[in-house]
C-alpha cells in the first residue's frame, strides 16, 4: 500500500457518488486516471485490504428488525470449538473472542445475530445455550446511535 492507495481509501470513506462515472470523480480528485483508480481498487481487494466493496444495508429496512449482541461464557478449553460452530450459523454476522479484565463481566464470546423478531432470536439462542451448556446474555439494540445521528452524512 502506497501513499496514493491511502489517499484513495480516504477519499472513499464516505462511499462513492451516484454519478454516471463515480470512479472518474475520485480520479479527478486525486489527479490520477480512472483506469488507475480501478486497477488500484481491484488490487486492494485482491490483497484483502478491502474486505468487500459494495453496499452496506440497514438490516431493519429488509425486515430484519431485531438485532442482538449475545455474550457467552465459554470455558477456555472449548473456545475454538464453540467459536467455529457459532460462525457456521448464517444468522450470525459477527463472532469474536474477547478478553476482559473486569471480574464482574466474564463473557468471552460475542456474536451478533439478525432476525425478523425477538422470538426467533430467543428460540435460536436458547437452543444453542442448551446444546453447549453455556451461560449467556442477550443485549438487544434499541437504537443505532451512529446512523440515527449521521445518516445524512453516511448517504
Amino acid at each position: 500500500m502506497d501513499e496514493i492507495d491511502i489517499k484513495l481509501l480516504t477519499a472513499l470513506k464516505k462511499g462513492i457518488p451516484l454519478s454516471t462515472s463515480p470512479f472518474s470523480e475520485i480520479a479527478a480528485e486525486l489527479k490520477i486516471s480512472v483506469e488507475e483508480v480501478i486497477e488500484r481498487l481491484n488490487q486492494l481487494k485482491k490483497d484483502k485490504i478491502i474486505r468487500r466493496f459494495g453496499a452496506s444495508i440497514k438490516p431493519s429496512s429488509i425486515g430484519l428488525s431485531a438485532n442482538v449482541l449475545v455474550t457467552w461464557k465459554v470455558p477456555e478449553s472449548r473456545v475454538q470449538e464453540v467459536g467455529k460452530y457459532l460462525s457456521e450459523i448464517k444468522e450470525i454476522s459477527h463472532c469474536y473472542e474477547r478478553t476482559t479484565d473486569n471480574p464482574n463481566w466474564t463473557y468471552n464470546i460475542y456474536t451478533v445475530l439478525h432476525a425478523q423478531n425477538r422470538s426467533v432470536i430467543e428460540q435460536m439462542v436458547s437452543e444453542l445455550s442448551a446444546k453447549w451448556g453455556l451461560e449467556y446474555q442477550l443485549l438487544y439494540s434499541t437504537k443505532d446511535l451512529k446512523h440515527s445521528l449521521t445518516s445524512k452524512e453516511m448517504i
Binding site: L9, L12, K13, K14, L18, T20, F23, S24, I38, D47, K48, I49, I50, R51, R52, F53, G54, S56, I57, K58, S60, I62, G63, L64, S65, A66, N67, L69, G83, K84, L86, S87, E88, I89, K90, E91, S93, H94, C95, Y96, R98, T99, T100, D101, W105, N108, Q116, N117, R118, S119, L139, Y140, T142, K143, L145, K146, T150, S151, M154, I155
Partner: protein, 200 residues
Amino acid sequence: MANVVINYRKSSKQQQPQVTLIPQNQKINNPQTQSPKIILDETDKKILQILQDDFPIVTQPWKEISHRLNIPEQEITNRINQLKETGVVLRIGPIFDSDKIGLKASTLVALRIDTKRVDEAAQIINQYDNISHNYQRDNEYNIWFTLTAPNDKEIDRTIEQIRQKLNVPKQDVLNLPTRHRFKINVIFQLTNHNRGNTNG
C-alpha cells in the same frame, strides 16, 4: 416487508432453514420496527444483491449493472437513489480490514450511563473516526461501540478520553479487546440466486 422470504448468504456447507417474515401486526414492540415501512420489489432486491456482494469496480458501474439485469441505466440509478434516500442503503464503498491498514488493535467498549445522557454520549463518541458501530442496548451497560487503533496504548488513551469527557467512573466502562475474529459477514441474501461463499 411482511410475508417475504429472506435467504441469508450461506456461511458454510451446512444448509440452514430459510427465514420467513411474519406479518407486520405480529411483531412485538421494538423501537426498530417503528421506522416507516419500506417495500422492496424483486428488482430492488436484485439490485441490492449486486450492490452488496458483486459490485462492479468499472468506469461505469451503473451501466454494467443495467446490462447484467437488462434494465435501463436510468431506472437502476433512480432505484439506487431511492434506496439511499429511504435509508435502505447506508453507503456504497470499500469496507477495509482494519488490521491490514495499520489498525492492529480493536475492541468493543461498553458504557453504563444515565439513560437521559445517551444522546449526549453518542454525540461525543461519534466524533471519533475510528469508532464504527455505536448502539444503545437494553442492559445495565447501555452503550456499546467498537473502536480500532494502531495499538492497545492508543485504544486505552481514546477510552480514557471518552470516559473523562463523559465524566463517568472507571467501573462503568468495559474494555473488551478482540482476541480472535471467528467470523465477519454482513451480506444479506435477498434473492434465491446464491453466488457462493464470501467473507464480507
